[in-house]
């Protein structure tokens, strides 16, 4: 369960990181963002990646959690890459749903 929660957050965070990159801003928003927003999304994205480590730490010991976390980041980033290539407009909604569902599941756990 914690692995799924972590995956949801990691996916949302990856989307935020995407929002800090001009190429992906164009894909998701059809326009480029200014420097302040770019910076803000980048910070949020890295923070989100960090947050995704928390459920792993709750489920496993530190060493296993880090290994699992790296795997989760890979899976999340792969999913985002595929979505950006084939359904870029669905990314933001998907990221929102993933973040919300994971947060609810985490709060409920």
């Amino acid at each position: 369960m914690m692995a799924w929660i972590s995956l949801g957050w990691a996916f949302a965070a990856s989307a935020m990181l995407g929002l800090s990159m001009p190429r992906h801003q164009e894909q998701m928003l059809a326009r480029e963002l200014g420097a302040p927003w770019t910076l803000a999304w980048r910070a949020a994205g890295y923070l989100g990646w960090g947050l995704a480590l928390i459920p792993c730490l709750q489920a496993w010991s530190v060493s296993v959690a880090i290994a699992a976390w790296l795997g989760v980041l890979t899976a999340a980033a792969m999913a985002l890459g595929a979505l950006l290539a084939y359904a870029p407009r669905a990314v933001l909604a998907g990221a929102g749903v993933a973040a919300l569902a994971s947060s609810l599941a985490w709060a409920g756990a």
Binding site: R23, H24, S63, V64, G71, L73, T74, G81, A82, Y86
Partner: protein, 550 residues
């Protein structure tokens, strides 16, 4: 160095290094990566390849029945080792040592038991997942030390390719999540980059730890120097076996632990290791009387202390827990070694983590494969200009088909041989392996005589068909059939069937995409390369899904 003797930038030098270091050992690396990835499921593969054990179902009295059987078939043994059934293997696997037997693994006798009845099963002879696992670090049919040097060299090349690739394609960190389909070479490069960067931590970890694991075989000199050539003493010391625990004296010695003792052992270990529970037991039987039982946990909870699994020692007659000296915590250097190597071996991994490792491994395999395909795709314009295919390019093309698609065929044939060869055939485990290599060799021969594109399509389609039919074959040849295995919770077998089908479906999709793009073969000179034609070329050269999307 450039032929025109102009100074070369770091990126050009790295690009050269990346291209050629990748090509030299890429085919071998793909085999190492793919078979290594399958090795995460080594136990499950072996269980699937022994349909005789599929009927085994653990019950409340599994341990007691196992002890009864051991008391019957190995009454004089000095030690019984029992590996309990779990989610990865439905059968009980036991081994024992008769008095006066040779030291080490050679002196062990083994049996496989039905977990529900305690009966001795006679599974067919097969190397199972161990063959795939062994091949990925010591190849086959050559002296181990040679093979390990070759694999070690490939691993070093992989590290070189990872580092030089990151330097060459430094843009990958700005276009992080980019994949542009239907763009020929561009798509392949995107796919190659994305799988490389996104799985970079995994790729680096698995490669680096692979080197660490090979280190002792390849560079034994420090140990030889410090331990005067006695490397066994070194490993024994690293493993630090705890001092033997003395069992209290009993008036009437028991041959096997009674049910009540087993029950209390099971309860106590379940309480002590809630998330991993009991995985295996050793019954020490000096003089043929059960004295102590050592229980070990099923899965370690931490990577750091691997090599010193948690254990508990019990009195075999009463089940009372005995005081055992706690194992010394590992030193910092040993802990780092343990973290990396245990991650590589997936030793600690529960189902979630094992799947993550498996998927990461598949992504890594795709990265290697796409690199090999890219080598060919990138040289298509040059070839068109030339109006013919240079021999070297043709060689790479044909080898690509065999080394990438052909390996899937070889794996599929290995599983088919497992079920089609008679269970009692003498030397049948060797025949399974011969089937594997024969299929691989045939795919190379086929790639040499057929057009490049045709060879890709046919090899992929055949592998896809064989893999997708594996669940049916399993059901038809005495294995646990799919709906039933899921209903029973026999996930080792069910997951194998489902994964084989999914893998076959993926290959079928690629073959379909390749055959659908009705574009001229890459082998012939082409019209002015439009975007579409380039996409066709990428498909013609390609094996994998990245370039083959609609």
């Amino acid at each position: 160095m450039r032929p025109d003797a102009k100074p070369e930038g770091l990126r050009q030098a790295m690009s050269w290094l990346h291209t050629w270091s990748g090509l030299v050992l890429g085919w071998l690396l793909f085999a190492i990566f793919l078979l290594g990835t399958l090795s995460f499921a080594r136990t499950e593969i072996t269980a699937w390849m022994q349909p005789e054990v599929h009927g085994s179902q653990a019950g409340a009295d599994t341990l007691g029945l196992t002890m009864d059987t051991l008391a019957r078939i190995a009454p004089a043994a000095t030690v019984w080792s029992i590996s309990l059934p779990g989610p990865r293997d439905p059968a009980v696997r036991v081994s024992w040592r008769e008095p006066g037997a040779a030291a080490g693994r050679a002196g062990l006798k083994r049996a496989v038991l039905d977990a529900g009845t305690g009966e001795v099963l006679e599974p067919r002879a097969t190397r199972g997942g161990d063959f795939l696992y062994r091949f990925h670090f010591e190849l086959y049919g050559m002296p181990q030390i040679w093979a390990r040097w070759i694999v070690g060299a490939a691993t070093v090349f992989m590290l070189v390719a990872i580092v030089s690739g990151v330097i060459t394609h430094k843009k990958i960190f700005t276009d992080f999540f980019t994949f542009r389909p239907r763009k020929g070479q561009r798509s392949w490069l995107d796919g190659h980059n994305a799988t490389a960067v996104l799985a970079l931590p995994f790729n680096f970890m698995i490669t680096f730890s692979g080197l660490l694991l090979l280190m002792y075989q390849l560079m034994p000199w420090p140990i030889d120097a410090a331990y005067q050539g006695d490397s066994r003493a070194y490993f024994a010391e690293r493993r630090a076996p705890a001092a033997p625990v003395q069992a209290p004296e009993h008036d009437a010695p028991v041959p096997a632990p009674p049910r009540a003792a087993l029950q209390s052992i099971l309860e106590e270990t379940a309480a002590a290791w809630p998330e991993s529970s009991i995985g295996s037991l050793t019954v020490n039987r000096p003089g043929g009387h059960a004295a102590t039982i050592e229980a070990r946990e099923g899965q370690g909870a931490s990577l750091v202390d691997r090599g010193v699994p948690r254990r508990a020692v019990f009195d075999a007659a009463t089940g009372a827990r005995l005081d055992a000296a706690a194992a010394a915590p590992p030193t910092a250097a040993a802990a780092v070694y343990n973290v990396f190597t245990s991650a590589h071996l997936g030793r600690f991994a529960g189902p979630a983590l094992r799947w993550l490792l498996f998927l990461s491994g598949m992504v890594g395999s795709f990265m290697v494969a796409s690199g090999m395909v890219l080598w060919v795709v990138k040289r298509l314009p040059e070839r068109r200009k030339l109006g013919r295919t240079p021999k070297g390019h043709r060689l790479v093309e044909a080898t690509n088909v065999a080394a990438l698609a052909g390996l899937f065929l070889a794996i599929a044939v290995y599983f088919w041989m497992n079920r089609l060869l008679p269970a009692s055939l003498a030397g049948r485990s060797d025949w399974e392996i011969r089937g594997f290599f024969a299929a691989w060799a045939l795919s190379l021969a086929y790639a040499c005589v057929r057009a490049h594109r045709r060879a890709w399509i046919d090899t992929l389609a055949l592998s896809a068909g064989l893999l997708m039919l594996l669940p049916a074959l399993n059901a038809a040849t005495g294995g646990a059939a799919l709906p039933g295995s899921i209903a029973r919770g026999l996930w080792s077998v069910a997951a194998f069937d489902l994964s084989a089908f999914a893998m076959g479906a993926l290959l079928a999709f690629m073959a379909f995409k390749l055959s659908r793009s009705g574009l001229p073969s890459a082998n012939r000179p082409q019209r002015k390369p439009s975007g579409e034609a380039q996409a066709g070329n990428a498909l013609a050269a390609g094996s994998t899904k990245a370039g083959a999307q609609p």
